[in-house]
């Protein structure tokens, strides 16, 4: 790479790194503040807490009924991942392999939920779901979360499927594979890495999806992030350490899947759906 040695460019370089460093420092500060407060006996007006304890975790676990919230979160997330994964891969396969009139319109339809603010389609959808009696229910939460996840899986999978040479499928047919064994022995193994990446990304996004879940979740169908919102919203009521203990539970849950996801995708892929849009 070309490096410029002038003084002005040195200053500029320093300024840029300083800004990046400051941002990372503040970011770590925000996260560290939550973790530290959750272990603090008392933390008022000092740099560091006045003593350490783990009791807030036990408090939070019973106060916020975290066992059932965590259970519901995983049920919702896995249902969303499973449904959007199955339907998404099938749809993506058709879109990657065939050109048909109206394909652009179909792809645009799958792009829209990612470009429109969630509340814009969430409020009418929640209204409909309440009217058919799914408001506050587990399936209501799952359905509303499918709207952004299904397009996400499709848009991640289309370029992945496109780069698998269709002649491989043709070759399998020539050697006598039926549709069933073509899918099981050829397509599935080839698609697996892409599917794993797409589904882990959907999983992480669904755990953190607040706006849509919030609109429809009832007391028994709250996910962690919604429960956390209510706790912070009513922050006068409970000790702040207890809320932060819950936030740490949420953070650990998310980070576990994020770390797993990062084994298969690069961090840029978590946001860079724009690349996929170009490819489609």
């Amino acid at each position: 790479m070309i490096r410029d040695q002038g003084l002005a460019s040195k200053l500029w370089r320093f300024a840029v790194w300083a800004l990046a460093g400051l941002f990372v420092l503040n970011l770590i500060g925000v996260m560290a503040a939550v973790v530290m407060n959750s272990f603090a006996r008392r933390w008022l007006g000092t740099w560091l807490p006045a003593g350490w304890t783990t009791r807030w975790y036990f408090d939070a676990w019973s106060e916020f009924q975290l066992s059932s919230v965590v259970l519901v979160t995983f049920q919702v997330v896995f249902a969303v991942v499973l449904i959007s994964g199955m339907i998404g891969v099938i749809t993506a396969y058709a879109l990657a392999r065939r050109d048909f009139p109206g394909k652009r319109a179909v792809i645009l339809l799958f792009l829209l939920p990612l470009l429109i603010p969630p509340l814009t389609y969430g409020i009418p959808l929640a209204t409909v779901l309440y009217q058919i009696g799914l408001g506050g229910s587990f399936w209501g939460v799952v359905l509303i979360n499918l709207v952004p996840s299904l397009p996400f899986v499709i848009l991640v999978m289309i370029p992945f499927i496109e780069q698998i040479d269709p002649r491989i499928e043709a070759a399998a047919r020539v050697f006598g594979a039926g549709t069933g064994s073509l899918f099981l022995r050829i397509l599935l193994p080839l698609l697996l890495p892409g599917m794993l990446a797409a589904l882990l990304l959907v999983l992480v996004r669904t755990i953190a999806m607040f706006e849509l879940t919030f609109l429809i979740a009832g007391p028994t169908s709250q996910t962690l992030v919604v429960a956390l919102y209510y706790a912070v919203f009513a922050s006068g009521v409970r000790a702040s350490q207890s809320i932060d203990a819950m936030a740490v539970v949420y953070m650990v849950t998310t980070l576990f899947w994020l770390v797993l996801a990062l084994q298969f995708v690069s961090p840029t892929q978590i946001v860079a759906r724009a690349k996929q849009q170009q490819a489609s």
Binding site: N26, M31, L119, I123, P124, V147, F210, V225, V232, Y250
Partner: protein
């Protein structure tokens, strides 16, 4: 008549059994996205009382409601501009780094943790006794703590923390997508660093930057939980999401709620179309180089 069968004619136009696999996904989207959206539009035109457009006149005549558009834009536009202004030069430096992974991993954290968690953390971090105020007092920039939560700046900070990494990672993916040989070619032809940036990189990046701007803006414009938790939801950070939510789920007027949701979508659309319209003035082809 020796016309080929319907099946063959359809297949020739791209419709065969494989194409039909698109149907389940399409059905889900029609049921969960298109139908509710259409329902919302119709619903918004059937107000509880008054003419069919009563919801919209109510929104645009009630200052308390109408002002939410300004409040949202006043947050979303400056934050997005700041995020982009930071993202571009930093992405340009980071592209030269051999180990980007640690930085990108750290930066992806706030995106995956989401605004609720960041809002909770910022309440402590930016509070009057928080590390941010303490640090500024320690280095002598402040004499007394400034109020940074439950106002405009709290929401601004939360949008910066989640929005900058988003803009940065997208920009980085565009910047690293440009063939480094193109920069080297410009250098051997006598272009200095400035000229390389303005004559070669920037024109190639404009399409990507426009898309990044739009996506970052959409996120900031949809700000909701942090505007409630970190802002002043009855005052300066009463954003349009809050208005829509309150109408639909606190006053149980789903017709009005849908109307505000649709206004929200339209305002955002105007900004996005304006930005993408500017983009068409520039080169739009691949930035990766011409071949090889």
């Amino acid at each position: 008549m020796n016309r080929p069968s319907l099946r063959l004619r359809l297949a020739a136009r791209g419709f065969d059994a494989t194409t039909l696999l698109v149907l389940p996904g399409l059905a889900v989207m029609l049921a969960l996205f298109v139908y509710p959206f259409a329902y919302g539009i119709v619903d918004s035109l059937m107000p509880r009382e008054g003419a069919w457009y009563a919801n919209y006149t109510r929104f645009f005549t009630d200052r308390f409601q109408f002002a939410t558009i300004g409040a949202t834009l006043w947050l979303a536009l400056p934050v997005t501009i700041v995020n982009m202004a930071l993202a571009l030069p930093i992405a340009f430096r980071v592209r030269l780094m051999s180990r980007q992974r640690l930085l990108t991993t750290i930066l992806v954290l706030p995106i995956t943790l989401g605004t609720v968690f960041v809002a909770d953390g910022l309440l402590t971090f930016l509070g009057p006794q928080g590390w941010f105020n303490r640090a500024l007092i320690l280095v002598g920039l402040l004499d007394a703590p400034v109020k940074l939560t439950n106002n405009y700046w709290g929401v601004f900070a939360s949008l910066l923390i989640t929005g900058f990494p988003f803009a940065f990672l997208l920009t980085l993916s565009y910047v690293t997508g440009i063939d480094p040989a193109i920069e080297q070619a410009a250098a051997t032809l006598g272009a200095g660093p400035r000229q390389r940036f303005f004559r070669v990189f920037l024109p190639l990046l404009v399409p990507g930057l426009a898309v990044t701007f739009c996506l970052a803006f959409v996120q900031a414009f949809a700000v909701f939980p942090s505007a409630v938790l970190l802002g002043a939801p009855a005052g300066p950070t009463r954003v349009i999401s809050i208005a829509a939510y309150q109408a639909a789920f606190e006053q149980y007027d789903h017709s009005m709620g849908s109307a505000i949701a649709i206004i929200m979508g339209l305002v955002e659309l105007v900004v996005v179309v304006a930005v993408l319209g500017l983009r068409t003035l520039f080169y739009r082809g691949p930035a990766g180089g011409t071949k090889g």
